[in-house]
Each structure stands twice: as structure tokens, then as C-alpha cells.
């Protein structure tokens, strides 16, 4: 929650950012890690999936301390550009890579230093789940995974030793619904614009992600088939926005949301019965005792993926500590922690070791729960007998249709999106 962001604050932050751009060449941040001291890692990221438990476990296992620098997805990207020395490790999304890599602010990550590299899920490395190709429209991780060298600013089309990010977590997103208020099965993205839900639908007001959900809807309605939803032409953007502007003018949407908590409020209060949603928001609605389903849809999911990167100035002991942290992260305990929140760990076999068999069956295999399913914080998420929305890992990740994306026509898209909000 940003509180009290006024125009004055806006001006301040904007100019601070500009100042940082101007001074980036001159100011070298002080390294946070001092030899011999207990190492501290400044971790830049949204940290939505990180709790105190992770910090504690990390310190117990490795003696490394983490200091979180929590920002929103877009702000994380901005920080990498404008203050590349303000963090030691960054947790970023793959769809930012087409923007970030050419700036040269991130280091190519050496896969030889990652113990579990060979166990990283094929969804990242090959774009496959269980040997089958999955949708790769948009900025699929495999497209922006490999670099031509450690200091390269170009992507390699074939696997190399150096990668942009070491994958950590990913998921398949879909629409969230209130089954108790809709009272009938929902099976298509097209339902978002169904007049039946007039005044009770919502979509997120983050252009780069909202446009993907919009494209899924337009395609599901049979209005247009995109060659690549994740990289639209100007005409395709116009067409998509036209359909949404008409829907907005006719009062289809109750509200738009841009903050995770807003989506929870909209759904929990019943203002909205169908909307774009993220999996932790579904969990948050459910823990209030309100029924909410992360509805699998026949057109498939919109997926996202995140990983760890290091600033290009990292070297020596600082690099050693960061790699040690990443290796610990992928060694299973965190993987299980992520899986229990409904995300997926990038290294599945290690995560399995830290999960109970009944948890594994529920979260990964799509089997009915044989005991109550608890969140990592100990809140009840599902009762005995319930099945995870969308089922198993293979049926969810296998049905990915597209990935969060950065388009070539990004600037135009943002402008058209603003036009829709103003219409």
C-alpha cells in the first residue's frame, strides 16, 4: 500500500529517479557485504511470497542475513535501471528481460555454479511440461533465458552457460470467480465480458498484464486470433482496446484494480464476481471463509515466471555469497514453502523432499486432499476431500497459453490503455 502518494511526492520520487540516472555513472554504492562480518544480502523484489520464516531458516542454515527492499513489479525494474548498486540480488520477472538485458545492468548468471541447474524444470529451459510443448506466446522464459556470454547484452537462441535469471518461482494465472454468486459453471475467458456479469466484472489496471488478459478474452470471444498475443501490432492493440472500451462504456466493469489487496476486497465484498486475479489473492479471499475459485478455462492460462539476477558490478566474495544464497534457495525448503502457497518451485525434485506426501498429492498431483491443507503460516486453505483448482502441475502448467510480456509496441500499448481508462 502506498499511503499518501501526492503530486508532491510524485514529483519528488520522479526527480530522485532522474537524479539517480544522471548520477549513476558517478556514484558507486557502498558494498553491503564486508568480509568477516555476518554476510547481509540486500534483496530487491516484490517479496510477495517471502515471509519471516524464510529469513530465519536461511540464517539458521547458512548464517546469511537478508534485508528485503520491497517494491512493486514495475518499481523493481525501475530500480535496476536507476539504482543498480542499491541491491545485491534482485528477484525479477522474465518479461522484464527484453528491457533490462540491453541496459547491461545485470550480470550473466553462471549455471555451472548452480548445483541444481540440471533439475530446473523444463518449463523454463525448454518450454516443455512432461515432454509436451506448452504455449510460448509472449515473453516465455526460454526466449530470454540464455545469454551469449557473461557480459553479453544479447540473448542466445541455444542453451549456453550463462543465463539472465536463475529461475525460482512461476505460476499459471487465470480468472477468479465467486461460485456462490455465479451459480453456474464457467469455462471460458469470454465470460469476463458476458453481459450477464454487467457491473460485476473487473480486470487489473497494470497495462502490461491487463492487455494479456484482454487478449485471452478477445480470442476466446472469437473476435480475433492473434499470431502472438504477447507481441501485438498497433492494429491488434487498437482492436483489443476497442472491444474493451465498448464493454467499459456499457458498464461491464465494476472497478479496475492495481493492488493485490484491492482485488481481494472487490471479490470478498461481492462487488465483483469474475475478474483477473492472482493466486495469493484467491487464498486471501478463501481464508476469510468466502468461496472463491481460481477457475481453469478451456483457452488455457497466462503464465509468469521469476528468478534471481545479480547487478553487473557483482564480484568476488559478494558473488560467492549470492550464489550460496541461490543454491540454498533451490535446495528444497523454500521450494516446498512456495509450493504450499500455490506457486511452483523451479526445482521440483528438491521441493518434494520437504513436503509431506499428502501435501505433494494435493498441490502437485491434483489428488483430493487426504487431510486439511494448511498454508505456510498455518491457516487452513482446503479441507479434506477438496481438489486443487485446475488440478495437477501437468494439467495446469501444461495448459499455459501465453506468458506475461513486454511488447515491441509497449509505448503505444500503454497510451491506448490510458485511453481506455479515460473513456
Amino acid at each position: 500500500m502506498k499511503k499518501g502518494l501526492t503530486r508532491r511526492n510524485m514529483l519528488k520520487t520522479s526527480t530522485a529517479a532522474i537524479g539517480a540516472v544522471a548520477g549513476a555513472g558517478l556514484l558507486k554504492g557502498f558494498p553491503a557485504i564486508h568480509a568477516a562480518d555476518a554476510p547481509v544480502i540486500r534483496y530487491l523484489g516484490t517479496a510477495v511470497n517471502m515471509g519471516d520464516a524464510v529469513q530465519k531458516k536461511l540464517f539458521d542454515d547458512t548464517g546469511i542475513k537478508v534485508k528485503f527492499i520491497v517494491k512493486t513489479t514495475d518499481e523493481v525494474v525501475k530500480t535496476i535501471f536507476t539504482q543498480p548498486n542499491s541491491f545485491d540480488i534482485v528477484d525479477s520477472e522474465y518479461f522484464s528481460m527484453p528491457k533490462l538485458v540491453p541496459s547491461g545492468n545485470l550480470l550473466g548468471m553462471d549455471t555451472k555454479r548452480i548445483k541444481e541447474w540440471d533439475n530446473v524444470t523444463s518449463a523454463f529451459t525448454k518450454g516443455e511440461v512432461a515432454g509436451k510443448k506448452i504455449g510460448d506466446q509472449g515473453t516465455a522464459p526460454k526466449k530470454v533465458m540464455y545469454l551469449k556470454g557473461a557480459k553479453s547484452k544479447e540473448f542466445a537462441s541455444e542453451p549456453t552457460q550463462y543465463v539472465t535469471l536463475i529461475p525460482t518461482v512461476y505460476n499459471a494465472d487465470t480468472l477468479g470467480i465467486r461460485p456462490d454468486l455465479i451459480k453456474r459453471p464457467i469455462s471460458s475467458w469470454a465470460e469476463l465480458l458476458n453481459p450477464e456479469f454487467k457491473g460485476k466484472a473487473s480486470i487489473l489496471n497494470i497495462p502490461s498484464i491487463g492487455i494479456m488478459d484482454a487478449a485471452m478474452v478477445v480470442e476466446a470471444m472469437g473476435e480475433y486470433k492473434y499470431p502472438d498475443k504477447g507481441n501485438m501490432t498497433k492494429e491488434e492493440i487498437d482492436l483489443t482496446m476497442k472491444i474493451f472500451i465498448e464493454a467499459k462504456k456499457s458498464g461491464q466493469f465494476r472497478a479496475f484494480w492495481s493492488d493485490f489487496n484491492e482485488s481481494v476486497n472487490l471479490m470478498a465484498s461481492g462487488e465483483v464476481v469474475i475478474q483477473s486475479m492472482w493466486s495469493p489473492a484467491i487464498t486471501a479471499v478463501r481464508t476469510k471463509g468466502i468461496p472463491c475459485v481460481y477457475q481453469p478455462l478451456k483457452e488455457g492460462y497466462r503464465a509468469w515466471a521469476a528468478g534471481f539476477g545479480l547487478p553487473s558490478t557483482t564480484k568476488g566474495r559478494q558473488a560467492d555469497i549470492c550464489y550460496e544464497f541461490i543454491n540454498w534457495y533451490l535446495s528444497g525448503w523454500v521450494g516446498a514453502y512456495l509450493n504450499r502457497q500455490g506457486y511452483y518451485s523451479a526445482v521440483i525434485p528438491t521441493a518434494k523432499k520437504y513436503m509431506e506426501a499428502y501435501e505433494w498429492d494435493y498441490w502437485m498431483m491434483g489428488k483430493p486432499a487426504t487431510a486439511d491443507i494448511m498454508s505456510p503460516e498455518g491457516k487452513k486453505l482446503a479441507s479434506k476431500g477438496e481438489v486443487r483448482d485446475g488440478g495437477s502441475y501437468e494439467s495446469r502448467m501444461g495448459a499455459v497459453a501465453c506468458w506475461n510480456a513486454t511488447m515491441d509496441e509497449n509505448k503505444y500499448m500503454v497510451r491506448k490503455w490510458n485511453e481506455m481508462i479515460a473513456s
Binding site: M1, K2, K3, G4, L5, T6, R7, R8, M10, L11, K12, T13, S14, T15, A16, A17, I18, G19, V21, A22, T72, D74, E75, V77, K78, F81, P98, K99, L100, P102, S103, G199, N205, P207, S208, K248, F253, R254, A255, F256, W257, S258, E262, N265, S269, G270, E271, T406, N410, K411, V414, R415, W417, N418, E419, I421, A422, S423
Partner: protein, 293 residues
């Protein structure tokens, strides 16, 4: 020439403030202005001198065959919110201040009631806004009450995520900004002036109109400047209370900044600043605050 003798120390005393002013106000503002003429790409801003950022804002704005452009639409809606909010905060603020200043005689009570006005500010702005949702929502208290009394037979949707809820939140949030300066002006009014008006046979309304309001003008203008500048740049209230469906310049700037289109955001900020300053300039033309203070 007493003044001249004092000058060195006066100059010295003003250094700290001048430095703060230069570093945290003038330089950032100048940078914003300069960068609004720069070029940019996906990941960096490029020193240049182009008008593209400005022409982009006004693209299609002067083609009157088409619908109104985004920029004009957004400013129009912002101006309307500004005016309505200003009107209600002024009316409510004036009478609250009037009550505090003239009907509450003990200073203790004045302070106590004044503190009461600030209670809404003890919680965060965002929480105050979100609290409207259970009240005004489809299943909220207001709709429940109206339904149960039979005044309406279906939930009223315009109560929330509408222009109405935005104005309601603005008035709730910013009336205090009117109360404080108007109250301050009223406290400076010499009571004997009012007594003199009475003695000359003026009635209550005449005193209010011919004596109190003219003497409160500086407070009214200062309060109005507060309210108008805050509403002009707001995007959090419009976002939350309007369900993100109603545009605001602040939101456009925010989105541009998140996509690192800093020069475009700077250009928008410069225009917003210019317009806001213009409004304030007009208001100060109407009344010379410096003289009145």
C-alpha cells in the same frame, strides 16, 4: 539606515532555507523541466531537445471531428472534481470554522472540538478511503438500509466507484484544509467590529456577508489553494474511489513512470504544474494574500 546594518545577518539566517529551497525544490523542478524535452527508449533517457513528449500529449486534441482526446477528457474531469470538491469543502469548512470561532466561547472547547476535526487524520489516507466500501458497496450499510426501508428495490450501484464516491471521499479528506485557515482568519477578526455592525443595526446575515466573509478572504483563498492543488494532482483517491475507471493526470504520470517513460511523465508533470499555478495565480489576483496577511 537600520535595515542595511541588519542585512548581513539576515542574509546569513536565510542561507539554510535558501539551500533547502534550491536543492529540494528548484533543482528537481528544473531537472523535470529539462528532461521533459529529452528522448527515451525502453531502458534509458537520452539527452535531446525535442517537443515530441508535448506533442504526444496533445495528439488529436485539436481535431474536433473526433471524440475529445484523452488529455482534454482527463483534465476536464479533473477540473470538474476540483470545482465540486472546492465548493463543498468551502461551504462545510466555512460553517464549521464559523461555529468554532463564534459560537464556542471557551478556548478549551475550541481546542477540543478542533482536535475532533482532526480525528479522521489519525488513520492512513488509504484506510479512510477503503472504509467507504462496506458502507457504500452493493451489499453495504447504505444499500441495506434503503432496501430494508423499501425506499429502493434494487441496490444502488452509483454509490460506489463513481464520481459521487470520489467527491464524497475528497470532501471527507480535505474539508479540514479549509477549516484551519478560515478559522485562523476568523480568530483575527476584532470582535468590536462585529459589535459596531450590530450597533449600526445590521442583522446576522448582513454581518456575515458584509463583515465576516470579506475579512475571511485570505483564509478562504489559502484553503482553496490547498484543496485545489491536492485534488489536481490526486490519483490515489480517484483510483480507489472511482474503481480505477475514472482518469486522472496523476495516474497517467504514474503509469508512464512505471514504464520508465520519464520524459513523457515529466512533460505531463510540467503541464499539470503550469495549469495548477495558473489557477493559483488567478486566485491570488482576486485577492492579495500578502497584503491581507
Amino acid at each position: 539606515m537600520k535595515f542595511l546594518k541588519l542585512k548581513p545577518s539576515v542574509g546569513l539566517l536565510s542561507i539554510p532555507y535558501s539551500l533547502i529551497f534550491v536543492f529540494f525544490f528548484f533543482i528537481p523542478l528544473a531537472l523535470t523541466f529539462i528532461i521533459s524535452f529529452w528522448d527515451y527508449n525502453e531502458y534509458s533517457i537520452i539527452p535531446d531537445f525535442i517537443f515530441e513528449n508535448y506533442s504526444y500529449i496533445f495528439k488529436d486534441c485539436f481535431n474536433f471531428q473526433k471524440d475529445m482526446c484523452v488529455t482534454f477528457k482527463t483534465y476536464l474531469s479533473t477540473f470538474i472534481f476540483c470545482f465540486i470538491t472546492w465548493f463543498f469543502t468551502l461551504i462545510i469548512g466555512f460553517f464549521v470554522a464559523y461555529f468554532l470561532a463564534f459560537y464556542v466561547n471557551s478556548v478549551t472547547w475550541q481546542i477540543a472540538l478542533f482536535l475532533l476535526c482532526t480525528i479522521p487524520f489519525w488513520t492512513s489516507n488509504v484506510i479512510r478511503m477503503i472504509s467507504w466500501i462496506p458502507l457504500l458497496g452493493r451489499n453495504g450499510l447504505v444499500n441495506d438500509f434503503l432496501l430494508s426501508t423499501g425506499i429502493i428495490d434494487a441496490p444502488q450501484e452509483w454509490l460506489l466507484y463513481s464520481g459521487f464516491s470520489i467527491v464524497l471521499a475528497f470532501v471527507h479528506l480535505y474539508t479540514l484544509f479549509m477549516i484551519v485557515p478560515i478559522f485562523n482568519s476568523m480568530m483575527r477578526i476584532d470582535k468590536s467590529i462585529i459589535e459596531a455592525a450590530y450597533d449600526n443595526g445590521a442583522n446576522g446575515l448582513q454581518i456575515l456577508w458584509n463583515v465576516i466573509i470579506p475579512l475571511c478572504k485570505p483564509g478562504i483563498v489559502i484553503g482553496s489553494i490547498f484543496v485545489i492543488t491536492v485534488v489536481m494532482g490526486d490519483f490515489i483517491t480517484i483510483g480507489i474511489m472511482g474503481g480505477q475507471q475514472i482518469p486522472s493526470i496523476g495516474k497517467i504520470i504514474y503509469v508512464e513512470m512505471s514504464y520508465l517513460q520519464l520524459p513523457a511523465a515529466a512533460a505531463n508533470a510540467v503541464i499539470l504544474l503550469a495549469l495548477t499555478l495558473l489557477i493559483i495565480w488567478i486566485m491570488t489576483k482576486m485577492i492579495d494574500i500578502r497584503k491581507e496577511l
